[in-house]
């Protein structure tokens, strides 16, 4: 039997599972059924006769268009799709910089399974355990950030930012001040601008100084004033560069009456090192699926735990989880504040996600959390040094004071100049080795960007394998650029025409829109 040659670190024999799988609607066969739902008993039918919670005007007059399939075909369909993904469980997950894709212990999934039958309308007395976990997770988050109270209701990062923007709006509404501008930075996550924009704010982006990679205070002072409601930023920013003068920025915003919000979606390099409140921030949020290891869910369900300092607790969305010394309870007190945010999603937050984060924190303890940050930073520094030794790789803002924290944005402009191969080409080619690779948020602010973040998860051997694969691809760029230009060759799909992808007129964000735009 032929054995796989593993003398090289580079997986040249890799091929992604590839099924020629139609979308589920195309698999539908009229009349085919997965489950035959029984008719209600006569007594029940009699009881609810003529009763409907849906007003007549809102009831649909056409049949609901759902795919009609047997259970085995549904299972096959989704299993095949799952095999086609390049997920954290099958690759050395270093390539998704800024997203902190770390190992999520499977035991926590097992524990989360224990509460999957819970219903949000259950009486509080029957769910004291999970309420306790919510309450204690709130306390842990406060300890980690220095804030005074957390809401676990937001179900993702952007919703966490939306919550912070909503708290800022509520605060000024309460004060009777009309402030409508939010300041952020180019290298903060795009949602730090997008979410407050949705909340009705105008957005001002600060640009980084071309030498230091962070904005200077003078710039902030030039554009802030009586209309400034808040300052929402990430730090370290996407580049991995940390703005060590951030407290001066916060102090300035406070001096003109604004509030400061810290995007700590990714706090992996900061656990036990710095705290948002200690830098003067009024609020912050954590993505539990990043730093706190409750796996990424491709758009949710997740938790963007959002915390505030004590003066702002009264604006948080309701309910919070309280403890009266004997029992845990859902605390709706903030609802009585007419200026409060109210709700940012239904119910209380995604309980299994909170449970997994709680387990992760408890299993590590305070020293363990600090060790996470240290290992993540060490891994990133090792990788940064190794990659910067390659002639194809460079980085901006290298003035000697800008050590990267837990992630780094590199530039492949030298490679591009020499070979014509750019970062998007490398991205496609890395898929041929089962590797994830990320460029940058859009638009590319640095030429040919590559953003990598090892986290604390990979071993030195794993990091070396990733670097060796990059080296292999760079060598190909010099010797056989055609292979890269035409990649991927061993993935789920080949190249597609991207020329119209940024044209709104062609977008179909739902099946309904697709039908309207493309079939009517």
């Amino acid at each position: 039997m032929k054995r796989i040659d593993r003398s090289s670190k580079v997986r040249t024999g890799f091929h992604q599972a590839k099924w020629d799988e139609p979308i589920i609607y195309e698999l539908s066969t009229p009349g085919e059924r997965g489950i035959l739902v029984g008719q209600p008993e006569k007594a029940i039918a009699e009881e609810v006769k003529g009763v409907s919670a849906i007003p007549a005007g809102m009831a649909r007059n056409t049949k609901l268009n759902l795919p009609e399939m047997s259970q085995s075909r549904v299972l096959r369909h989704y299993s095949r799709l799952a095999q086609q993904t390049l997920g954290a469980d099958v690759n050395i997950e270093i390539g998704q910089g800024t997203c902190t894709v770390k190992y999520s212990p499977k035991v926590n999934d097992q524990l989360a399974n224990l509460i999957r039958e819970y219903h949000p309308l259950q009486d509080e007395s029957t769910v004291q355990g999970i309420l306790q976990i919510f309450h204690e997770t709130d306390k842990y988050m406060c300890e980690i950030s220095g804030m005074d109270r957390f809401s676990l209701q937001p179900s993702g990062g952007s919703q966490g930012i939306m919550t912070m923007a909503s708290v800022i709006r509520a605060y000024f509404k309460d004060k009777g001040e009309d402030r409508d501008e939010i300041i952020t930075t180019i290298y903060s996550h795009p949602s730090d601008a997008a979410a407050p924009a949705v909340a009705g704010f105008k957005i001002i982006y600060l640009q980084p100084d071309p030498k230091t990679g962070v904005p200077d205070l003078e710039q902030l002072k030039a554009v802030s004033g009586p209309r400034t409601a808040g300052y929402i930023v990430a730090n370290p920013e996407d580049t991995g560069v940390y703005n060590s003068h951030v407290k001066e920025f916060v102090d300035h915003i406070h001096s003109i009456g604004g509030l400061c919000a810290y995007d700590q979606a990714n706090a992996n390099g900061l656990l036990g090192v710095t705290r948002a409140r200690d830098a003067g921030f009024d609020m912050c949020f954590f993505n539990l699926h990043k730093t706190f290891s409750t796996p990424h869910g491709c758009g949710g369900p997740a938790c963007g735990a959002t915390g505030v300092q004590k003066d702002l607790v009264k604006y948080l969305p309701a309910p919070l989880v309280g403890f009266d010394g004997k029992k845990y309870f859902l605390d709706y007190e903030t609802v009585s504040n007419p200026c409060a945010v109210g709700k940012v999603r239904e119910w209380y937050g995604v309980a299994p996600v909170v449970l997994k984060a709680y387990c992760w924190i408890r299993s590590l303890g305070p020293n363990g959390l600090y060790q996470v940050a240290k290992t993540a930073v060490l891994n990133n520094n090792y990788m940064f040094k190794k990659l910067m030794e390659l002639p194809e790789v460079s980085a901006y803002y290298e003035d000697g004071n800008n050590q990267r924290v837990e992630q780094a944005r590199y530039s492949l402009e030298k490679l591009t100049k020499e070979t014509g191969i750019g970062t998007l080409d490398i991205q496609r080619r890395m898929m041929d080795f089962g590797m994830h690779y990320w460029t940058s948020h859009h638009p590319f602010y640095l030429p040919e960007p590559m953003t990598l973040e090892p986290t604390e998860t990979p071993s030195k051997k794993d990091i070396d394998e990733y670097i060796e694969t990059l080296k292999y691809v760079f060598k190909e760029a010099h010797e056989n650029p055609e292979t890269i230009k035409t990649a991927p060759h061993r993935s789920v799909t080949h190249q597609v025409d991207e020329s119209g992808m940024d044209d709104q007129a062609t977008w179909a964000l739902s099946w309904k829109t697709y039908l309207k735009k493309y079939t009517e």
């Binding site: 901006y396 638009p443 602010y445 119209g500 940024d502």
Partner: protein, 387 residues
């Protein structure tokens, strides 16, 4: 079957090799200094990429060094422009009698007349080899009526209508002709004043726009991908600029595609490479010169809407010389409204925007931080500098 128009400027690039920084008006001197024409070779390299689909193509071109020779040598089916002799009909007066045939016989006029003929024949794509001067000639004939790809062969290549190298030009053409890329985008035709360039003064001007296939990895200033197309981003910026318009105020609308968006939203006729004046959302006049502009706005409440042009982040002094120091002073620094797409600003990587009018005192007083409108409800803080 697909039709390709091929234009080769055979003298392109000759000046550069002998230290002349361009070949406009200097082909004879370049030849005297021993320059060898290379544009044909570069066009051939691009065209070779189309050999796999040779059987599905007709090449429309002039006979001889302007394209015919190469097309025939590579075995393409060729349709040549009637009445065109080898190279071209007319001779460039400066070079006449100095350069040997056939090079002596080509001129800017030939490029234009060939481009016009290609339009009449409704070609699917125009491939042209040359430099910034050639792109200007093609633009004068074609404007936005056909899809073009530039094969870089000249000394000066500032215009992003050119592919990164000849091979990339050929591959881009192949993608377009085989339908793998189906969208186009408008790219700038830029050129510098060669006389000044020879004196080491770089002065880029925007001459117009050509439509090129939209595949970012092949063209010169490779643009970063954005969540929105340039067209949608410009719409969003223009909407914001119009929303902020105040009544009973003159609005001077500067040159460029971004400011054109404002005129389009207002439904007004626009001068792409010129300055227009608007009052209460109605057109006052198109394409004004500096002194006309000044007389119209003198003592009136006026705002000036500009974008960055010329590929290097210039606000004033490049391609919008109608905005004289007097006009800018009359408007006042606080009434300058800058529009720019995020992509365009990102390409500057945080470098300041530049002002370079001939009035140094004014340049200096315009320095500082500005909030540049980059989308609906979005501004990016940019530093403006005079050096």
């Amino acid at each position: 079957m697909k039709k390709i128009g091929l234009i080769v400027n055979p003298i392109a690039g000759m000046g550069g090799s002998v230290g002349l920084k361009g070949t406009d008006n200097t082909a004879a001197e370049a030849f005297r200094r021993g320059a060898i024409p290379r544009a044909g070779d570069r066009a051939k390299s691009a065209l070779s990429e189309l050999l796999p689909i040779k059987e599905e193509l007709f090449i429309y071109t002039c006979p001889g060094s302007m394209g015919g020779d190469i097309a025939e040598e590579l075995g393409f089916r060729t349709v040549v422009k009637p009445e065109a002799s080898d190279g071209a009909a007319k001779a460039a007066p400066v070079d006449a009698g100095v350069l040997p045939d056939p090079l002596s016989k080509t001129s800017a006029a030939d490029t234009k007349s060939l481009a016009e003929w290609l339009l009449e024949n409704k070609v699917d794509l125009i491939l042209f080899a040359g430099g910034d001067g050639t792109a200007r000639d093609v633009y004068q004939a074609v404007e936005l009526s056909a899809c073009c790809v530039g094969i870089p062969a000249g000394v000066k290549i500032h215009s992003p209508v050119y592919a990164k190298n000849p091979k990339a030009a050929g591959l881009l053409a192949l993608l377009w002709l085989t339908g793998k890329v189906s969208m186009t985008q408008e790219e700038e035709v830029l050129d510098i004043d060669e006389e000044q360039y020879r004196k080491e003064q770089i002065n880029t001007r925007l001459y117009g726009y050509l439509k090129v296939p939209k595949e970012r990895s092949f063209t010169q200033n490779r643009k970063a991908p954005t969540p929105l197309s340039d067209a949608a981003a410009i719409d969003s910026i223009a909407y914001e600029a119009v929303r902020q318009m105040e009544p009973d105020t003159f609005y001077i609308i500067g040159a460029g595609t971004t400011t054109r968006g404002v005129m389009e939203i207002l439904g007004l006729k626009n001068t792409l490479i010129g300055v227009d004046l608007v009052y209460n959302k109605k057109l006052v006049a198109n394409d004004l010169g500096g002194s006309e502009l000044l007389s119209l706005i003198k003592g009136k409440r006026t705002k000036l809407v500009v974008t960055i042009t010329g590929g290097q982040g210039y606000l004033f002094g490049r391609g919008n010389q109608q905005l004289t120091p007097d006009v800018i002073r009359e408007v006042g620094k606080e009434n300058i409204i800058i529009l720019a797409t995020k992509t365009k600003l990102a390409a500057l990587s945080g470098q300041p925007l530049l002002v370079d009018t001939y009035d140094e005192g004014l340049n200096h007083s315009l320095c500082g931080y500005y909030r540049v409108i980059a989308g609906c409800g979005e501004t990016i803080v940019c530093k403006v500098s005079d050096n």
